[in-house]
Symmetry: C2
Subunit: 355 residues, 2 copies
Amino acid sequence: MAKTNPDESAPVRQRGVTMKDVANHAGVSRTAVSIVLSNRENASISEETRTRINHAVQELGYRPNAGARALASRRSDWYGIVTEIVTAPFAVDIIKGAQDQAWLDRRFLLIAPSDQADAVGPNQGLEDAATEKLLEQRVEGLLYAATFHRGVHVPQSANEVPTVLINCFDADGKLPSIVPDERGGGRVAVERLLQAGHTRIGIINLDPDIPAAVGRLEGAREALANAGLELDPELVVSGYATADGGYEATCHILDRYPESDRPTALFCLNDRMAMGAYDAIKERGLTIPGDIAVIGFDNQELIAAYLRPKLTTVALPFEKMGALGVQTLAALTAGQPILADQQLVDCPLLERSSV
Amino acid sequence: MAKTNPDESAPVRQRGVTMKDVANHAGVSRTAVSIVLSNRENASISEETRTRINHAVQELGYRPNAGARALASRRSDWYGIVTEIVTAPFAVDIIKGAQDQAWLDRRFLLIAPSDQADAVGPNQGLEDAATEKLLEQRVEGLLYAATFHRGVHVPQSANEVPTVLINCFDADGKLPSIVPDERGGGRVAVERLLQAGHTRIGIINLDPDIPAAVGRLEGAREALANAGLELDPELVVSGYATADGGYEATCHILDRYPESDRPTALFCLNDRMAMGAYDAIKERGLTIPGDIAVIGFDNQELIAAYLRPKLTTVALPFEKMGALGVQTLAALTAGQPILADQQLVDCPLLERSSV
DNA sequence: CCCAACAGGTAACGCGCGTTACCAACATCG
DNA sequence: CGATGTTGGTAACGCGCGTTACCTGTTGGG
């Protein structure tokens, strides 16, 4: 009764073709097949038997068994990544970057979900389980990816294998990490506004304590200083990191000043807040970028590319961070030294139409 | 020179603890350990040695080797999913649904990227490679996920193992598939508008040929028919599936009629077009939903939840489809019969504030 | 008192493959 | 002509584990 495929019209399915079968079919030993397939340099197999073996492989449709190979060679060619894929509009980009890079290196990326509700509290049950599962698969390296830049604690068992943090950093500062250059991003954003002639720049801030806010604000300050200006604390308004929060903060900042003294540009520390800012600005009959220029941060495609006018913003280099994470891991597993404990990745400015 | 960890302060890292070590430490045979760890029912191991073994496992920090287990037991506990993660704002949700379900079943989901540019053209090089790689890992089942509902061609080798299609269907109609109930979604959207008292409903259509457009439109027609109304073809405008496309189509439809005859509601066949519709409506000094109600489709969180007012829309059940895909696969690999070749998944209405 | 029926455990084989040690045939050299 | 490579291969071991066949007491029944 347990037939998987009731209607089996005898396709060319050769399941379970093993190396031995290939060897028999080619009239050689299994060792010879192994040598040819792993085509080493110092081999000593005649060209003739070599092609004979390759033909046998083709004819039988032989497919190597990765598991067995891993067992025998004691290398799995797998990396593992632990990430909160749940609430993550971003995480996917990190995964994609890592995935593609791993694929280039002919490695597999095992993805394990981590629903850590709180980074601090020891709600690490699931996360530990994820790590454990990955180690059971004998991954050669581990990646931990966060959805927003912050400090994290990593399960103990991660010590057993090279580990790299992406978009987050180890609170104990032992593990190598890849994070966005928030400060550089803030600088480039404000420089762009300065270059467009704006000198009174309002800043719609995030929660001031998180690394993103600290870095971006610092960058803004730096850019202003380079232009001989100072950051007016009055012009910095914090709000919830949502469209509503951005809307309210923008209302606040726009209504506080007479038109003559009003900021002519807004630097929103994320795109969702920029979305709210758009509404507040339009509501007041002002135009973008004519009356007020807006620049965002994060480059959430769905927002930035579809707002009207399209939003000029600073991109978070998720894909690049993912790729760099895998590269760093590759270096570590190969025993090579890595460049630095913390690698900063550029946040490039994406010009659209709101400045 | 190739030291992975130069500063090795002797942590409790016990790498390579094997079953034999556990056996020795507990003073039993390796077989006994194997039996206890795979805790079978018909075992005959005394409670005492059983706990002794468990203690040894704890003390040595033994971690089973999943690869070796797979090799010996001839079952890998792995599924593979091939998906175009690249341009995909959605795919991630399918993956998440599948991932979570697989995790519940204590299985791993191997994700392989497929950058098939064209579903029809034989640009299947990469996709074939992905499938091949997955089969080398001896996955027990395969999932193919598309980012938008459409027909696809699947590599030959997929026949070797149970296969399920998600958000797409086999052009040859052989493989089981999981797709959204587009028609039901269209129906529920229009029903909601009817219920709010709207009878003149404009429809911002997608490319009329794709399954999504066909189904949703059919559903709309059905809902109207149930209310004794007919679909006015004049009120259906197709455009590019973007915010700009939605903007233009909406302008077209709004400017064509005198105010008295203007539609009082718009059914946008996706959220990006709804985004453009918002702009067109607001530009004309009209309010949402006061003057014109808007309903979308897809539930792209970043758009729907952050538009002002928040967009009422019909959700595409990606996560559920992913989960159902894995469940179907589980049934197939267990040799159980499946319910139907094509399973439809409900598209639920999400009430927000635009109706 | 002998035999069957357990409970409690072990030896040994094989999964598919990488790898090392070894072997035969031939060419080269002093 | 024997010693010494070199070329082209093979036998055999082990990776870590599941599984089956078997073995050794101890009981209970006739």
